[in-house]
């Protein structure tokens, strides 16, 4: 009897313990669920940055040349000869560094959105050089420590040959993180077969005679800046109140617009779908050189935008020393000229002008004010607004995205 009582006691105890455990289990389950849910969060750039500080002297001392370079750039942005790039081949010949050149960047925001999860997780993106326009994405990459600080002791050619306009720009003082690849101007281009009167101003984009044949850019930084310039406001020093006014101007213009285009705007202009469009100088120069003699690029009397595409080295790059070597190699008159003679944007190396004229025998390019601008173009050119934080960028997006997304 005593044994049975002992048994029953044991069983009962076990049952009640099990109930307790079950209750605890359910509670723990709920806790785990909410823990899992909150762990599902997506890490932000700032959190990734605050994790560690890098000693850049040590960084550069610890990395060695590897003989390999993975270079991400925009399409049609380097010299090409039968599918190969003579400047890159020359680089390989002189330094022994093999280059994997990948023209994968179609636009700043989508490219940054693609690589930012890796940058935040401090993983390699697979690129040793990325080329980004000065804008929110570039500022983000610099502010959050996603790109390496450059060792200028290994960039003597930059100090020697770079144009004054690309040294210490407002978005990256002292070129600590970036060197300019190309500079470009954003103005207006038009088809002189369809439009016979002179085009001088942003107001020409409002002309009802061009209805359905006006192209604008879907990059909201470019679009918003055009609206600001049209109203005579300098984008670099504009305020959110100005942005609202600019959006109003763009909304007024919208019925005239046939589309807000990415890089395809230049095809639309070439094939005659659009007659007048917001345009990048280099594209128009290439189009004219390619036989579209009827196209014209104008600087509106209200001004034009000037921007820089910059080479940067992601911090987790596998071959940063090789990347630095390419940057230094690019900033020589010869190599800059080889690239420039094909790319036709604004050259960051003024001495390349003589090389293009004499050695490459291409006076059209050498004498073009769109490629080697004189000082009058500088005064008509404005810089983009530099966002102070994400909220400002968000406000800009909220102001101008509804015009594109309609």
């Amino acid at each position: 009897m005593r044994d049975e009582a002992w048994l029953r006691g044991l069983t009962e105890a076990r049952v009640s313990r099990r109930t307790v455990l079950r209750g605890v289990g359910a509670g723990a389950g709920l806790l785990t669920l909410s823990a899992i849910l909150s762990a599902c969060g997506i890490r932000g750039s700032i959190a990734a940055q605050s994790q560690e500080k890098v000693d850049w002297t040590k960084y550069w001392a610890s990395h060695k040349k590897t003989g390999q370079l993975d270079f991400a750039n925009w399409p049609l942005y380097i010299d090409e000869d039968h599918g190969k790039s003579p400047s890159l081949e020359l680089f390989t010949k002189e330094t022994g560094i093999q280059v994997d050149y990948q023209p994968v960047i179609q636009n700043n925001a989508p490219f940054y959105a693609t690589v930012s999860p890796e940058l935040r997780a401090h993983e390699a993106t697979g690129y040793d050089i990325v080329v980004m326009t000065n804008g929110w994405e570039l500022t983000e990459m610099i502010n959050n420590g996603f790109v390496a600080e450059l060792d200028h002791s290994r960039l003597p050619n930059f100090a020697k040959y770079a144009a004054a306009s690309v040294k210490s720009p407002n978005y990256d003082p002292g070129n600590k993180h970036s060197l300019v690849w190309q500079t470009g101007l954003t103005g207006i281009a038009y088809d002189s077969r369809q439009i016979t009167r002179p085009i001088t101003s942003f107001d020409d984009l409002l002309d009802p005679a061009f209805k359905g044949h006006v192209g604008m850019m879907n990059d909201n930084t470019e679009l918003g800046s055009a609206g600001l310039l049209a109203l005579g406001i300098d984008p670099a020093t504009s305020t959110p109140a100005d942005w609202k006014k600019a959006a109003g101007w763009l909304r007024k213009q919208s019925p005239n617009v046939s589309g807000y285009y990415d890089q395809s705007y230049i095809d639309k202009l070439q094939n005659g779908d659009t007659w007048i469009t917001q345009a990048w100088s280099g594209d128009v120069f290439q189009a004219i050189a390619g036989g579209h003699k009827h196209l014209k690029f104008v600087t509106p009397k209200e001004g034009q935008m000037i921007w820089h595409d910059n080479m940067m080295i992601p911090r987790q790059a596998e071959h940063p020393v090789d990347a630095l070597e390419w940057m230094n190699f690019y900033y020589t008159p010869k190599v800059a000229a080889m690239v420039e003679d094909w790319v036709n944007y604004v050259c960051p190396v003024p001495a390349a002008k003589a090389y293009i004229k004499n050695q490459l025998d291409d006076p059209d390019v050498a004498n073009s004010p769109l490629i080697f601008p004189d000082s009058s173009i500088d005064t008509a050119s404005h810089n983009f607004y530099v966002y102070k934080n994400y909220d400002e960028y968000q406000l800009w997006n909220d102001t101008f995205n509804p015009i594109i997304e309609s």
């Binding site: 969060g41 959190a47 359905g212 046939s258 934080n389």
Partner: protein, 316 residues
């Protein structure tokens, strides 16, 4: 203790020759009851990994708040669903309605165009041509649909061959254009999705019992009546499968609108893409996807209840 020892032999399994028999029976019982579950394991894993987990994680991300700088944290933020549709800067409601409009128009057009094609191949063509014709329906899939859509953009552009010819023949005015209109977007969707309507309808028509059609004629039905009262109702499941394939694809598709559309053809697919891949608003993108999925689910469920799906398994 003694009591337990005494009962122990009775509780132990029957010893001797009976043991293997019981063992085998148990194994058979076990197999019979677990085999269905084991067999469904692969399908179940497929559903869980590729359907339920993405679905739930999409919902979870949509309830997060934050921005790319500070990161996104889970906060049960149901408010995002309201904020996207009430007093939003970007009018997502318009894009939703527009996408649904394009989807419905494109689906109806694929039925109107695709049904006669399927009917023709199934009933009016000799057996040796059927395969060739079906191959022709499918052959455009050999080229990526983005490239094919881009080719349409070239053909239909203002200075492209189609409009140039029309203007030359004075059939189109100088201001007439095709690209950038809703018609161009719907046309692109119809072109890209036509095969998804033709094939399921063909599969059903091909298997129709010819004796049923003869019976209808014997009962004095004329040819339109045979079609309307026999063929069409019997091919309902094919149309249903086609609608599933075409409508879902058409409503969510961003490609046709971005390549063939213009300033006022922005659709929800583009909005989701831009929220995710340009603005890094992961929560907005996830919320829009969730709403799109729920809306499509409700519409298709209602359609299934009204149109009937009892013989959709014929297609599998």
């Amino acid at each position: 203790m003694t009591a337990i020892q005494a009962t122990a032999p009775a509780a132990s399994p029957t010893p001797g020759p009976a043991a293997p028999v019981r063992d085998g029976a148990r194994k058979r019982w076990w197999l019979r009851h677990t085999t269905p579950y084991l067999l469904s394991l692969a399908g179940g894993a497929w559903l869980v990994i590729l359907f339920i987990i993405p679905l739930v994680s999409g919902l979870v991300v949509s309830l997060e708040t934050g921005n790319p700088d500070d990161g996104y944290t889970f906060t049960w933020n149901w408010g995002v669903y309201g904020s996207l549709f009430v007093n939003s800067d970007v009018s997502y409601l318009t894009f939703f309605l527009r996408s649904l409009g394009y989807g419905v128009s494109a689906t109806l057009l694929t039925i109107v165009i695709g049904y006669p094609m399927a009917y023709f191949i199934a009933f009016r063509v000799s057996a040796r041509w059927k395969n060739t014709l079906l191959l022709l329906v499918l052959i455009s899939f050999l080229v990526s649909f983005v490239i094919r859509t881009d080719m349409w953009a070239f053909l239909l552009s203002d200075q492209g061959p189609v409009l140039t010819a029309l203007r030359w023949a004075h059939l189109a005015s100088k201001d007439f254009h095709i690209l950038g209109t809703p018609g161009a977007v719907i046309g692109g969707i119809v072109y890209n999705d036509l095969a998804f309507m033709v094939l399921p309808i063909y599969a059903v028509l091909e298997r129709l019992d010819a004796r049923l059609l003869e019976a209808a004629s014997d009962l004095y039905a004329n040819r339109p009546q045979v079609f309307l009262r026999t063929v069409l109702p019997l091919s309902r499941s094919g149309i249903f499968a086609g609608v599933l394939l075409v409508f879902i694809d058409a409503v969510g598709d961003p490609v046709n609108a971005s390549l063939l559309g213009g300033t006022h053809t922005y659709v929800i697919g583009q909005a989701i893409q831009d929220a995710y891949l340009t603005n890094q608003q992961y929560n907005v993108a996830a919320a829009l996807s969730t709403v799109l999925m729920v809306v499509l689910g409700i519409i298709l469920f209602a359609y299934a209840r009204i149109a009937g799906t009892e013989n959709i398994e014929d297609l599998v």
